[in-house]
C-alpha cells in the first residue's frame, strides 16, 4: 500500500471528501481494513481517560453561571457597538432636522429697516416717479 493510498484512507477516516473510485481501488487491498482498524484504535486511545470529572463540570458551569451576562446577542448582530452608536446619532440628527419647526434658523434675521417712506397719493402716476 502506497503513501498516497494511506493518505486517502486517513482523509476518508476523517470524513474528508475523497475520490470514490480511488477509494474503491484502495479498499480492494485487504490491508486497507487493518489500516482503518488501527486508525480507529488510535482514536479510541486518544479519548481514554480524557473526559472531565463530573464534579469539575458542575463546579465550572456554576462559576460561569454566576458570572452572568455574557449574552451572545451580538452574535446575531455582526456590527461593532461604536458603529451602532454612530448610526443612532446620525438617525437622531436626521429626525431633528426633518421635524424642526418652520421658523427662521437664525434669530438675528429681522425685517429690513426702512430707509424712506413713500406716501400714497391718490391719482399719482407712479410710472413717472
Amino acid at each position: 500500500m502506497t503513501d498516497n493510498d494511506l493518505e486517502l484512507l486517513s482523509a476518508y477516516f476523517d470524513g474528508d471528501r475523497v475520490d470514490p473510485r480511488r477509494l474503491v481501488d484502495v479498499l480492494e487491498n485487504p490491508d486497507a481494513i487493518d489500516v482503518l482498524r488501527d486508525f480507529a484504535k488510535v482514536r479510541a486511545e486518544v479519548m481514554v481517560e480524557a473526559l472531565p470529572r463530573e464534579a469539575w463540570v458542575r463546579q465550572t458551569r456554576a462559576r460561569l453561571d454566576a458570572l452572568g451576562g455574557g449574552s451572545l446577542w451580538r452574535r446575531w448582530v455582526p456590527i461593532p457597538a461604536p458603529a451602532l452608536v454612530a448610526a443612532a446619532v446620525v438617525i437622531a440628527a436626521i429626525g431633528v432636522w426633518t421635524l424642526r419647526p418652520s421658523m427662521p434658523v437664525h434669530p438675528e434675521d429681522k425685517p429690513p429697516v426702512p430707509t424712506r417712506v413713500v406716501a400714497f397719493v391718490e391719482g399719482q402716476d407712479w410710472g413717472r416717479i
Partner: protein, 163 residues
C-alpha cells in the same frame, strides 16, 4: 439567547480532551480548561459569530495552552515518579495492547501533534483546524496523516511487545 455557559455545555468535553492530551496532569487540564471558558466569557462582547464557535473556542484554548507551556518551560520540572500515574496522559492500557500515547505524542513534531489532537480529541474538521492554526487545509491534512501514521507505528510496536 446563548451565553458562555451554553458554549461551555457544547464544547467543554472536546476542549478538555484536547488539553488533557497536551499537559501532564488532570489538574492542569482542569485549570486550563476553566481558564479557556473564563477568557471566552470576557471575549464574548467582542466576538462576532462566523458560525464557527468551535474554532473560536479552540483558538482560545490553544493560546491558553501556549501561555501555560511557556511558563511551564521556565518552571523547574518535577522528577518523574517511578510509579506510573494512573491518571497520566502517558500510559493508556487497552485490553489488547498498550500504547504509550503521551510519549508517542511527545515524539511527534509539535505542529503534527497539535493538528492531530485538534482533530481526534477536539473533533474539528480540516477547515476549522486550519482556521485555528493558521495553516492551510492541505497542510492540516498532511500533519494529521503524519501523526496518525507515527502513532500507528507505535501501536504496532506495542502490539508486537504484547505478543
Amino acid at each position: 439567547m446563548a451565553s458562555v455557559a451554553e458554549i461551555f455545555d457544547r464544547h467543554h468535553t472536546a476542549v478538555f480532551a484536547y488539553l488533557r492530551r497536551r499537559v501532564r496532569s488532570v489538574a492542569d487540564a482542569e485549570d486550563l480548561c476553566q481558564d479557556v471558558f473564563l477568557r471566552a466569557h470576557r471575549a464574548l462582547p467582542r466576538y462576532v459569530s462566523t458560525g464557527r464557535d468551535a474554532a473560536w473556542v479552540f483558538r482560545i484554548a490553544r493560546n491558553v495552552l501556549l501561555n501555560f507551556k511557556r511558563g511551564d518551560a521556565r518552571a523547574p520540572q518535577p522528577v518523574e515518579s517511578a510509579e506510573p500515574d494512573t491518571m497520566s496522559a502517558g500510559s493508556v492500557a487497552s485490553s489488547e495492547q498498550t500504547i504509550d500515547l503521551g510519549r508517542a505524542l511527545d515524539e511527534l513534531p509539535e505542529q503534527d501533534a497539535d493538528a492531530f489532537l485538534l482533530r481526534e480529541a477536539g473533533g474539528l474538521g480540516y477547515d476549522e483546524i486550519a482556521a485555528v492554526t493558521g495553516a492551510t487545509p492541505d497542510a492540516v491534512r498532511n500533519r494529521i496523516f503524519r501523526a496518525r501514521m507515527a502513532l500507528r507505528t507505535a501501536l504496532g510496536a506495542a502490539r508486537r511487545m504484547s505478543r
